[in-house]
Amino acid sequence: MSEDTNKHGHKWTMVVDLDKCTGCQACVVACHAENNVPIASEEEVVKGRAMHWMRIERYWEGEFPDVKAKFIPVFCQQCGDAPCEPVCPVYASYHSEEENVNVQVYNRCIGTRYCGNNCPYRVRMFNYRAPEFDAPLEQQLNPDVTVRGPGVMEKCTFCIQRVRRGAETANAENRLIKDGEVVPACVQACPTNALVFGDKYDEESRVAKLVPNERQFKLLESLGTEPAVYYLKGGETHVGE
């Protein structure tokens, strides 16, 4: 399902400007709220069972006292050639030809965890136990997103429920989706606009214009996974661009 062989539908794409990311984690919180992601306890985290669809990796650069913190938000890269897809024995992890994103059908998933083990980005999360939401959090569960049960793999979907809602609205009004109409929760929450989301097949979209950039790179590009997430390298010279 490489990028070049599928030209119909949409190519949902994220551009992350590392110059603008302050590592504030607002995106992480927004993602938990939007996608009904349960919060793992400290003991669970120690066991390597943390639940986040999105994480901010932090790197220290330099020697004390001259140190700098660098941040990289990492979430599902929505690979064009995804390692998680062919290993699923029940096709619960599949590629949506329309939206060009990697989708997880939770009710189809039987929990073999092959997909998570084959993901080089470590962004797939397994529900080791039934999800719990401490009161009053259960009152704000998003009705458009399934609450995943125990034994099911889950991950970032580019807020597919918002993408689909945008498509349904545009369909009802007999028009195409406009650039900027669909905004995933993390993008909406980002105070510095470090995250930009859109359809790369739409040549006028902001992502299509941002991608050809000398600062652009992809995570573990050499693996040939064809991520749909593009990063723009950080460096002081570009601040305020």
Partner: protein
């Protein structure tokens, strides 16, 4: 009367076979009945009669007057007590069911209507997409307008949804799992 132990082994076998066979017949018949009556009416807190309100000869109220979301939203919506009282503040106020209705209104309580059609939580459904494309209420809910009590007439399983989606022009887009599961 002879006791079971007095019977020859052969007779015991025949009797046992007959008993098991009888039981199987009873179970099959029970399952058949249970299946055909799966559309049994739901017990509602007020005996709301669709036919009385929708029937042209009677009142001729349109579906979307009460189910206001059908053109604009995923959920059809159940009318508020206030909407009922807009008419029943004056109409049939002595009817025992309307007395119940008025009590909810005066206590400022919502009516605990029971769901008739309900999808599992992992299924996403959208009314407006269907109504905008000209799919009628009847193709999924049956002729509610003639019902005394709203009943489930079809089991809306995945095959039911896909049977229709695969007949649409843009079927590739409509059978993508993410249309209904997310």
């Amino acid at each position: 009367m002879r006791r079971l132990a007095d019977l020859s082994p052969r007779q015991q076998l025949i009797l046992g076979g007959a008993a098991v066979g009888g039981l199987v017949v009873v179970i099959v018949v029970f399952l058949l009945i249970a299946n055909t009556t799966s559309s049994a009416a739901v017990d509602q807190p007020i005996a709301f009669n669709h036919n009385k309100h929708v029937n042209i000869a009677e009142n001729g109220i349109q579906c979307q007057f009460c189910h206001t979301g059908v053109y604009t939203s995923p959920v059809a919506g159940i009318p508020s007590v206030e909407k009922c009282m807009g008419c029943h503040g004056h109409i049939a106020t002595d009817n025992p069911e309307i007395v119940k209705l008025t009590a909810y209104w005066e206590n400022q309580e919502p009516i605990p209507w029971q769901r008739v059609n309900e999808q599992p939580s992992f299924v996403y459904f959208n009314h407006s997409s269907h109504i905008a494309s000209g799919v009628t209420c009847g193709s999924c809910h049956g002729d509610v307008g003639t019902m005394k009590t709203a009943e489930k007439v079809v089991d809306m399983n995945m095959g039911f949804c896909l049977d229709c989606h695969t007949q649409q022009e843009n079927k590739d887009a409509l059978i993508d799992c993410v249309v209904c599961h997310r």
